[in-house]
């Protein structure tokens, strides 16, 4: 669990909608941009990378929720645009399998897509700075930083959910008082997410995940670069 799948019903409707719109826009742009570079030839790659992400989620490394994500690997191999398509596919499928929320596929895609995007550019940057031999360090570092940033985005999203007091977290409907009387929830307690404790919680929970994902990303990219270097380096063209 190097990254958090937002479940259904936690975030307010407007935020969920915003996630969908953003995802739709980025998808449209990605498809538009890649059309020129032979999108058709990419379909097998999209398929296999998406499948790999899904399959890796079925291999729990440490029991329960811990699994790796491979989003940065997707970014490095597919490039940010195509990786976004792939991540959307993954999120849609795992949502169907009850793994993340179906209503928040949009938001989840934005968050994980950001990992791929940031991972790709950081990897390229580190490679140019540190040279081609640093492929392990470059990819590993890129992964860790990308995950930290994407988690921050997630915290940000959750923070955003507090902004509109009318729709506080969407937990209570439009009539807080009535609800409160009905179900005996003291209304002063429904202030929504405590952003500090939320951030603390996930930072602690995810820290180990980042490290693990960083190490695995480094080894996998190293492996691929030795066996099929063509899958990694000419990507920038």
């Amino acid at each position: 669990m190097s990254h958090l799948h937002i479940p259904d019903g936690v975030l307010p409707g407007w935020l969920v909608m915003a996630g969908w719109i953003l995802t739709a826009l980025i998808l449209a742009f990605s498809i538009y941009r890649t059309r020129s570079t032979e999108l058709k030839r990419k379909v097998p790659l999209i398929g296999i990378i998406s499948a790999l992400m899904i399959v890796c989620m079925t291999i729990p490394i440490v029991p329960i929720a811990y699994h790796i994500n491979l989003s940065v690997i997707a970014g490095i191999i597919l490039g940010p645009a195509v990786a976004f398509i792939s991540i959307f596919i993954v999120n849609l499928i795992i949502a169907m399998f009850g793994h993340g929320g179906i209503t928040v596929v949009g938001l989840n895609t934005v968050v994980v897509g950001a990992e791929a995007f940031i991972g790709f550019y950081l990897f390229q940057l580190f490679l140019t700075i540190m040279g081609r031999d640093s492929i392990m360090w470059s990819s590993g570092l890129a992964a860790v930083i990308a995950l930290i940033i994407s988690t921050s985005i997630l915290v940000g999203v959750v923070y955003l959910s507090r902004i509109d007091p009318e729709t506080v977290i969407g937990i209570e409907g439009g009539h807080p008082t009535e609800v409160a009387t009905e179900t005996n929830i003291p209304s002063q307690l429904t202030k929504g997410i405590n952003i500090k404790s939320f951030a603390k919680t996930i930072l602690i929970l995810l820290g180990i995940g980042w490290l693990l994902e960083g190490i695995i990303t480094a080894f996998v990219i190293k492996y691929v670069s030795r066996v099929r270097p063509d899958l990694i380096l000419p990507q920038r063209a």
Partner: protein, 266 residues
Amino acid sequence: MDVAIIDYYANHGTSFLHKAKALWKVVFTALVIASIILTNEFYMLLGIYITLVTIAVWTRLPVSRIITIAAYPAIFALIFAFAMWNGSWLKAGVIILKALTAALTMVLLIVTTPYPDVFNVLRPFLPRVIAEGLFVTYRSVFILLELTDELIKSLKVRGGLTRRKYIRNIRNFSSGIGLLLVKGFDYSEKFYGMMNVRGYSGRITTQGTKTSINRNDVLAIALGLLIFAITISTVIEKRFLEFGVYILACSAIALVISSIYQQFQN
């Protein structure tokens, strides 16, 4: 998330839900999900959850397994609930129940409907790359699952996964993932090439033949509408919430009767 098991259930079930057409099951799912989004009432959500469990019993699949599969998002919901903790158990319960109920709805759909059928319904709304990507991904998942199985066997018999040697294990495991990626890519490329050789022009499965709606479809839609109607009425008219207890009781009774009946059948 055990893809193979889910796929097996979807393809080997015999219940009314398995027999209903994918389109109407998707409608059912959409209605239930909408209900879950609309209501914020603990008892309402619990009622829906119990109803869904009842339907799970009707699918004649291992219910506990289905519930376990659908319990995964609860872990994340727990984190959110913890972060939002303000002393209200009910509120935490609502957050977790929402995640659980939504997940169970999706899982009910997916254990009774082969995934390609579901995405065939969505297909008209998706760009071609995504539709094709979804499809190739589905096949690739099964190719990879088989490869993964063999890979893990190889790693084990060659000493690659040893108790208590964590660093070594991670390293070997990563090599394994790299191997899967490279091999898997070769395979998907061949698979995609073969699709084209066999004449692919955008029709992977048969278009849903326009047969009339059957009993199973009607039942699926009716269930969806029922849940939606009750939920929406409580959202619009808060007074209906007084009946919350009865709704809960009804769903619980339905569950008990169904379970006993199912037990009896076996």
